[in-house]
Amino acid sequence: MNQFTSVHVIYLLEAARWTLLLSLIALLGGGILGLALALARVSRLPVLRVMAIAYIQIVQGTPLLVLLFLSYFGLSLAGYRLDPLVAAGLSLTFYVGAFLGEIWRGCIEAVPRTQWEASDCLGLNRFQQYTHVILPQAVRIATAPTVGFMVQVVKNTSLASIIGFVELTRAGQIVNNSTFQPFLVFLFVGAIYFAICYPLSVASRVLERKLHVAR
């Protein structure tokens, strides 16, 4: 039986880079999709609203695990053999987009209606209202729930191990299989997750304070 050594530590840290990369893809892809969905949800066009609601309901009602199976195994049956990273990245984007879309929709609607009226009366068009008046205020409201959800997503990237993707949790399992020191290995794995998530929470607090001062 192997001892838990620096080799394992380096292996886990390297795997953590994949966890970070998946989280980044989820945040960027899901963020872009989420913004589009949030804007569609509050659109004046009923067709956009209905499509966004349908998408959000379906994806929110589906486990991330099932999305991963669908994009990896399902698409490969259909002839599209996706790299595990691509499959995991796509699944996370679709998943995170649905949740961020709904969170941000709530934040946009939390900006008082009177802000729309005041900016309308000053002659701003709808695009200018969004970019200068509504979204900047919605961002301040959205900071805490968005970061809270992102912390969840960082941890949910561990599900990508199910389609053969060796990220942090999967790497922990592999190391444990060879060292058989589960407490040591998984405490170390947990510490790395914490090291990724804690700065996010701190950044959220700092950002909130900053945005609050400038309001």
Binding site: P112, T114, Q115, E117, A118, S119, D120, C121, L122, G123, L124, N125, Q128, H132, V133, P136, Q137, R140, L211, A214, R215
Partner: protein
């Protein structure tokens, strides 16, 4: 209401009827009907505001006066009649909305300043985005209108750092900066204590003195009586009584208006 009878109604030197020619009509409301669901909130309302006039719309809560003002600016759709303001037909969709916004300013009860911008940016936002003024021009105009409302030193403050009265004066300055032809005031002092109310009313009186055409919905009867050229009393969604201020206050034609000014509401 204990109103000093020696206070003359209407402002000195201003003809309560405004310019005599018909082209002096800035706001024309004709037989307007408005429903909230099954509830008829405006019932055949007609009124006219001429260039340079100050018209006060008064009445009890729920009489439809705020709704009427919001309809004038297209914030609420009307179901019947016609509203023409500065030559723009408000009833016909949003196609002429940009021109309407250029000519009509509005100030709200709850100020509605943008909390994430400084006072100056609140004022320059529409100047740069809508009127395409340069930053330098916009800053100059902001300084000008802030001086007019007595807040020249507050341009870098954020709204939450100001009192309600100061915020409302900034809101007036923000609207004024776009040089509108007519300004609508929707119960702009209703959220303020008496002291702050006075400073806002003072600004409005200054504006009126400069010849700005103004329509205000107000509960400040003393102010209306002293400054307004015309008073419109609304009751149950109708213009119940209207006319030159001195005349309607001295000789209320309806029991409802007599009772209304009698109770000082």
């Amino acid at each position: 209401m204990s109103q000093d009878s020696s206070l003359a109604a209407g402002r000195p030197g201003r003809d309560p009827d405004g310019p005599a020619n018909a082209s002096g009509v800035v706001v024309s409301v004709q037989n307007v009907t408005k429903y909230f669901g099954p509830l008829k909130v405006l019932d055949g309302v007609s009124l006219e505001v001429r260039q340079g006039q100050l018209v006060a719309i008064v009445g009890r809560s729920g009489s439809g006066k705020s709704t009427l003002l919001r309809c004038m600016n297209g914030l609420e759709a009307i179901q019947g009649g016609r509203i023409v303001i500065c030559g723009h037909d408000v009833g016909i969709g949003r196609s002429n909305r940009a021109e309407l916004r250029r000519d009509v300013g509005m100030v709200f009860q709850s100020y509605n300043l943008f909390p994430h911008f400084t006072v100056e940016r609140n004022i320059t936002l529409a100047l740069t985005l809508v009127k395409k003024n340069t930053k330098v021009e916009a800053a100059r105009i902001a300084a000008e209108v802030l001086a007019l409302v007595g807040l020249a030193d507050k341009n870098s403050a954020y709204p939450e750092q100001l009192s309600g009265g100061q915020q409302q004066r900034v809101a007036i300055a923000r609207s004024l900066a776009l040089s509108p032809q007519v300004m609508l005031f929707d119960e702009v002092t209703s959220a303020l204590d008496p002291e702050l109310t006075i400073e806002v009313l003072k600004v409005m009186e200054d504006l009126a003195g400069r010849g700005m055409t103004m329509v205000l919905v107000t509960h400040e009867m003393a102010f209306a009586r002293r400054v307004a050229d015309q008073v419109v009393f609304m009751h149950k969604g109708k213009v119940w009584e209207a006319g030159p201020t001195a005349q309607v206050f001295a000789h209320p034609a309806t029991a409802e208006f007599a009772q209304f000014i009698g109770t000082g509401l």
